[in-house]
Amino acid sequence: MLELKNISYLVEDEGLGDKKEIIKNVNLTIEDGFVAITGPNGGGKSTLAKLIAGIISPTSGQILFNGEDITNLSITERSKKGITFAFQQPVRFKGLTVKDLITIASGKNITINEACGYLSEVGLCAKEYIDREVNASLSGGELKRIEIAMAIARKTPLTIFDEPEAGIDLWSFQNLIHVFENIHEHAGGSIIIISHQERILNIADRIVVIADGEIREHGTRDEVLPKLLSQAAPSPALGDESDTALGCPTLLDKIKK
């Protein structure tokens, strides 16, 4: 279980010398299960994920993971405690192969077959990819799937996916849900999914809405989703079942204060 207590995050606005509050005194308890975090662009979702993973440190407040204060722990230490973060924009590495990264993610020497298994789970033909370098020769969608495969290889009690569906056009949506279920089955704990997609929200146990650095809604799917849908104007993304609609600006961007 993850608890954020009075978390604030300020950055200097270089142009004006002002301080801008990206996260404003957030109190949030993430229970076990699937938790979707949604809200407009620039609302603070990814910042919150980075604060949890330790990539940035809060200006004030406290982060507890399974009751332990991890506010001052490094990225590496949090990772070892069981926090995984799948980036919105995966990183490229000249020279490191898909197998190298999946091996590092799994934390032990794994066989080619095991590594291939993780790739198959994200819909990549393992043999074609296992020895590929994770460099500019891979497309954004391929990188995204490899990023998710690394999260599967880790199977930690807390996994954060930052817009996992973005850029993955032709991969069946069911597969992605299967990945979440699989990680949850093996590791228990929480899976946090940052997403704009109604279909992701539909599988969440709980939904958190963040806008302007503040929590606007937090509750079960049945409590929160109907409100979101009624606030939103009709959108082409709504009800469109084709996967190519994933990643389009959606109704949730239109939520006003």
């Binding site: 490094s74 990225i75 934390g107 690394m150 880790r154």
Partner: protein, 308 residues
């Protein structure tokens, strides 16, 4: 052949991935003398009479054979200059593994300078691997200055891999290639320098033939106070394609210079140079740290992958 000592074995393993005496043709030079030699029906090795070094003569049509000519130095203060010449007949397909390992346990400098000349016959295919490695607890410098001259006849192809990962205090590498009609050369260089090491590489390729090509790719890592200089010059005087690329990771207080030159003397010469020097990207470190590595472990993985 004389028994190899433990130090000689370790050097051989590092420069040629050899655990034992190689199969096929070989010539092992150690501390200025010949430690062992084997020739085959197609590959002859002859000691030069006018200067130190050997001629390696490969008969036309020789396929899928290899020659190993490692050089080992374990004696502190030894300085040598060696001339090796390769005569590769037409229609061959061979692998040549050279390389030099210095173990310097003393306080005097050890130095190996080698001039390798390749005559690559028509339509022959050559893979040439050269690894340099230095070790030893002494304070004596380990210096290597390899020069390579490559003359490529019509339709031939040569791929050269040069690797220097550790322990060489100072190196000056010069490589020259003259490429005739339809011939192509690929050069891949990997260098890592640390402490106060200095490494200079200087590639020059003259594309004189129609449809000739050269592809030079250098990846390097400069740590601590080391200094690297990369020079490349591709001269295209016919319809040809030339590409050079220098990609360097800079760390600590190191200095990396990249000086590319391209000269096109024909309207159909197409020449490209790319150079990039920068530190390890912060996001790469962060990604590996989220996978449980410490910052220094992440750095090591990134460098090892980059130079793989």
């Amino acid at each position: 052949m004389a028994e190899l000592t433990a130090i000689q074995k370790s050097l051989l393993e590092n420069i040629a991935d050899l655990h034992e005496v190689p199969t096929g043709a070989y010539n092992i030079r150690s501390d200025g003398g010949m430690l062992g030699r084997n020739t085959t029906a197609n590959i002859d090795i002859v000691t030069k009479t006018d200067k130190p070094g050997i001629d390696i003569i490969i008969k036309p049509g020789t396929k899928n054979q290899s020659v190993h000519i490692p050089v080992l130095i374990t004696q502190t203060g030894l300085k040598e200059m060696v001339y090796n010449e390769f005569f590769i007949g037409e229609d061959c397909d061979v692998v040549i593994v050279a390389g030099c390992g210095i173990h310097n346990a003393g306080d005097e400098g050890s130095e190996h300078s080698g001039i390798h000349t390749f005559h690559v016959g028509k339509n022959s295919k050559v893979k040439y691997v050269e690894k340099h490695y230095g070790t030893g607890e002494g304070t004596g410098e380990r210096v290597m200055n390899p020069s390579t001259e490559i003359y490529m006849e019509e339709g031939s192809h040569l791929e050269m891999e040069t690797i220097q990962i550790e322990g060489i205090n100072s190196t000056e590498r010069k490589t020259y290639a003259r490429v005739e009609d339809g011939a192509s050369i690929v050069i891949k260089e990997k260098i890592m320098t640390h402490d106060n090491q200095v490494a200079t590489t200087d590639f020059k390729a003259e594309l004189v033939g129609a449809d000739s090509s050269a592809d030079i790719c250098s990846r390097s890592v400069a740590k601590n106070h080391s200094k690297q200089t990369f020079r490349s010059n591709i001269i295209g005087s016919n319809a040809c394609k030339g590409h050079s690329e220098c990609d360097a990771i800079i760390m600590d207080e190191a200095i990396v210079e990249a000086i590319p030159e391209l000269t096109a003397a024909n309207i159909d010469a197409s020449l490209i140079h790319e150079a990039a020097i920068g530190k390890i990207a912060g996001e790469q470190l962060i990604k590996l740290m989220t996978l449980g590595l410490t910052e220094s472990e992440a750095e090591e993985q990134i460098i090892n992958g980059f130079l793989k």
